[in-house]
Amino acid sequence: MIELLVRINNSIYNLSRVHRLLPWLIAYLVLLPLPKLLEFVLSDYYIDLANRACLFILLCVGLNIVKGFCGQVTVGHIGLYAIGAVSSALLAINYGLSFWVSAPLAVLITGFAGIIVGLPSVRLEGAYLALATLGLGESVRIMIAVTPALGSSTGIMLIPAPAIGDFVFDSFERYYYLVMTLAVLGIYLSFAILRSTTGRAFQAIREDPIAAAVVGINVTMYKLLAFVISALYAGLAGALFAHMPPGYLHHNNFTIIEMVTLLLMVVLGGIGNIWGGVIGAIVVTIIYDQTKDYYFYQPLIFGITMVLLVVFMPRGIGGLLGRMIVKKKFIKNHEDKVIDFA
C-alpha cells in the first residue's frame, strides 16, 4: 500500500517536472467523466453526493488554512459559510444579479466577515479563541434566524441556479462540473499558498508565534490574513451551496452540529495536511451517507471517532500517509548513498 503511494507520489513528481500544472490537468480530466461513471455503475444520486463532498472539500481546505497551517482554533467557520450562502442568495433574489456576480460579491463580503472572526485571535489563543469564534459563528445563525429579510424561520426559497447563456447548472451532473472545477481550483490555490512565503509564515506562527515574530513575520497581520483566506473559501462554498438546486437555505443548516462534522472531517483527514482535508471531506460525506439507516447511533459514533482520532491519530489519515512517504523516501535516499559508497 505504502509502496503504491510512494510510486504514485513519484510519478506525480515526475509529471510536474514536465510542466507544473500537468498533474492537476490530468486529475481534472480524470474527474470530469465521474458523473457518467457514477450514474452508470450506481445511480445519479451519487453525483449529488459528489457535489456535496466537493462543497465540504472547499470548506475543509479553507478551514485547514486557518486551523491547520496557522494553528488558530476557530469554531466559527460555519458562520462564514452561512454569510457566504445568505449574501449570495439575497443578492441574486433581491437585486436579480446572476450567480457570476453575486457569488464573487458574497465571497468578498465573507472575506470582510473573516477579519471580524479573526480579530479575537490577536489577543486570544486556544480554548479561549475557540469560545470567541464559537460565539461569533453562532450569532450569525441566530441573526439569520430572527431577521425576516435573511430568511428567518421560513428560509430563503427559489434561489436561481447558475447559468451560462442557456446552459443552466440545474441538474446534479451539470452542477458537478461547476463545484468540481472550483474545488480543484481551491485545492490548487491552497497548495500555492502553502508553498510560498505566506504559507511558511502561517506555519511558523502555528509552531511558535514568538520565534515567528523574531524572524520578521508580522504575526497579527498573517493571522488575520489566514482568517480572511479561509473565509473566502467558506464564502465560495456557501454561495455554491445556496445556488445548488433546489436553491433553498435555512438557518438550521449552519448549527454547531455542522461545525462539529466539519471539524471531524479536518481532524480525520489530518490537521495541516491539504490532502488530509480533502480525504476527510470525502470519507465523512460517504460514511455519513452510508450510515444514514443507523441515524440513532450516528452522533455517538461520530463523537467517539473524533475522540479516538485525537488521542491515537492526531495527524489523521493524511498526516500518517504523508509521514510514511517522507520516511520511505529518506530511507531510500540513504540506501542509495550507501550503495554509491560501496
Binding site: D48, T154, M157, P245
Partner: protein, 400 residues
C-alpha cells in the same frame, strides 16, 4: 502482485456496500423522510412503518408489497434534500412521504416536482408549501392560517381583544404567531398588546411575563415548541397571572410534553388541532387504544392521527391506481399514483373533518382537512385530559 489483489478485493467490497439495496420490480417503493430526533417523531415514524407492514401481511396492494424506506432528516433542510434525492434517484421510489418540518418540506417540494414524483405531507403547515404550485404534492393537514382563523374567531367571540404574544424563533411557531396576529387584525381589528420574540429554546420568560401582567390582557398566545411552551406556561403562573387570563397555545400545544412538563399550568390552555383524543367516535376510540398499546402513548395528538390518515389515504390511492410496476414503468406509475391521490374525495378518517384532493395544483385542491377542533386541557400531568371546546369548519378558499 498480492497487494494488487488485495486492493481489487477492497474495491469489490466497497462497490457491494454501495449497491446493498437492490431494486426489485413488482414492489411499490415508498420513501419517508421525517424528523426523528424526538421520541414522538420516532414513534409515529414507526407507526407508519408498522401500518405498511400490516397492509403487506393482509395481501398488500393488489398482491404487490409496499417497500418503505424510513429516513431521518433531523429537521434540517440540507439533510432532507439529500434524503429526498436519495429516495428519488437511488431508491427510485414511487411516492415520497414527508417531511414533518416545514423548513424541510419546502425545499423537497422542488426536488419531487422536478423528478416528477408524488409527495404527500403528514403535517407541515407552512402556507407556502402548497402555494409553490407543484403538481406533485398533497398534504393531509391544512395551512397554519386555518388554525389561526379558527383560534382568532373563538378568541374574539369568547375571550377578548387584548392579546399578548410570545413567539419562539422556530418555523412553525413563527408561522402560527404571525397568522394569529393577522387573523385578529382582519377578523376583529385587534392589534397585539405585546409581542415578545424569543429564542427557539428560550428558558427565561420572567421579564416578558411581568410586562404582560402589568398591561392587563385578556389572553396570552404562546407560540413555541412543546418544551419551551411548557416552560413559558409555568412561568406565566409564577409571574402571578391567574386563570382569568386565558392561555392560547400554538399548534405544538397538542404535543404530550406540554401537559406532562407544565402539569397544572397546562389547565385551561386551548389550541386548534386536526384531531382530538377526546373524540367520541368509535374509530377514534379504537385508534387511541391501538396507539396506547403499541407505543405507550397516553393520548395521541394530531401528529399521530395525521400520520395514520396519511397511510390510509395512500392505501386507498395505491389500490385505485393502475400500477404496472415494471422497471420501465416507473414514470407512468408515479403519474398514476399522483392522479389517484388527486382523486381522493371525502375521506373520513381520524381527522376532525373530511379530506378531499383534486387535480388542480392550487392550495384549494392540495390542502387536506379544513375542519379544526378547539381542544382545551382539563387536567395536566402524565395522565392529562382534554375536552373539545368547539368544532369549526372554514371555507375552502379561506385566507388565500
Amino acid at each position: 502482485m498480492f497487494k494488487i489483489n488485495k486492493i481489487c478485493l477492497g474495491v469489490v467490497a466497497l462497490s457491494f456496500m454501495f449497491v446493498s439495496t437492490a431494486i426489485y420490480a413488482g414492489d411499490i417503493r415508498v420513501g419517508i423522510t421525517m424528523r426523528m430526533v424526538s421520541e414522538n417523531g420516532q414513534k409515529y415514524g414507526q407507526m407508519m412503518m408498522d401500518e405498511i407492514d400490516i397492509i403487506n401481511k393482509s395481501g398488500g396492494i393488489n398482491g404487490n408489497n409496499i417497500v418503505a424506506t424510513l429516513m431521518n432528516d433531523e429537521c434540517k433542510s440540507d439533510k432532507g434534500v439529500a434524503n429526498a434525492n436519495k429516495l428519488v434517484s437511488q431508491k427510485k421510489v414511487h411516492l415520497v412521504i414527508g417531511s414533518t418540518c416545514s423548513s424541510v418540506t419546502l425545499p423537497i417540494v422542488a426536488v419531487t416536482a422536478k423528478a416528477k414524483v408524488p409527495q404527500i405531507i403528514p403535517h407541515s403547515t407552512n402556507a407556502k408549501i402548497t402555494k409553490l404550485g407543484s403538481d406533485w404534492i398533497f398534504r393531509v393537514p391544512v395551512s397554519g392560517r386555518f388554525y389561526a382563523g379558527v383560534n382568532a374567531k373563538y378568541v374574539g367571540e369568547n375571550i377578548g381583544m387584548r392579546i399578548a404574544y410570545i413567539c419562539a424563533a422556530d418555523a412553525a411557531s413563527q408561522n402560527d404567531c404571525q397568522a394569529m396576529q393577522g387573523q385578529m387584525r382582519s377578523q376583529h381589528g385587534a392589534e397585539p398588546v405585546y409581542v415578545a420574540e424569543v429564542q427557539e429554546k428560550e428558558v427565561d420568560f420572567r421579564t416578558h411575563m411581568q410586562k404582560i401582567k402589568t398591561s392587563n390582557v385578556d389572553g396570552i398566545m404562546i407560540a413555541a415548541l412543546a418544551e419551551t411552551m411548557a416552560r413559558a406556561l409555568i412561568q406565566s403562573y409564577e409571574a402571578g397571572m391567574d386563570e382569568s387570563v386565558r392561555r392560547i397555545g400554538s399548534s405544538s400545544a397538542s404535543n404530550a410534553p406540554v401537559p406532562k412538563i407544565a402539569g397544572d399550568a397546562a389547565k385551561n390552555v386551548f389550541f386548534a388541532a386536526a384531531y382530538a383524543a377526546a373524540d367520541k367516535r368509535p374509530i377514534a376510540r379504537l385508534f387511541n387504544e391501538m396507539v396506547r398499546e403499541r407505543y405507550g402513548i397516553h393520548a395521541p395528538d394530531h401528529d399521530f392521527s395525521q400520520a395514520y390518515d396519511l397511510i390510509r389515504i395512500v392505501e386507498i390511492a395505491l389500490n385505485n391506481a393502475k400500477l404496472k410496476l415494471t422497471n420501465s414503468s416507473l414514470a407512468d406509475d408515479r403519474v398514476a399514483i399522483r392522479n389517484a391521490i388527486a382523486g381522493i374525495r371525502n375521506y373520513q378518517g381520524l381527522a376532525s373533518g373530511p379530506i378531499s384532493f383534486c387535480r388542480d395544483s392550487s392550495p384549494v385542491c392540495r390542502d387536506g382537512n379544513r375542519t379544526a377542533v378547539l381542544i382545551g386541557y382539563t387536567k395536566g400531568g402524565e395522565q392529562f385530559e382534554t375536552e373539545v371546546l368547539a368544532r369549526v369548519t372554514m371555507p375552502m378558499d379561506f385566507g388565500l
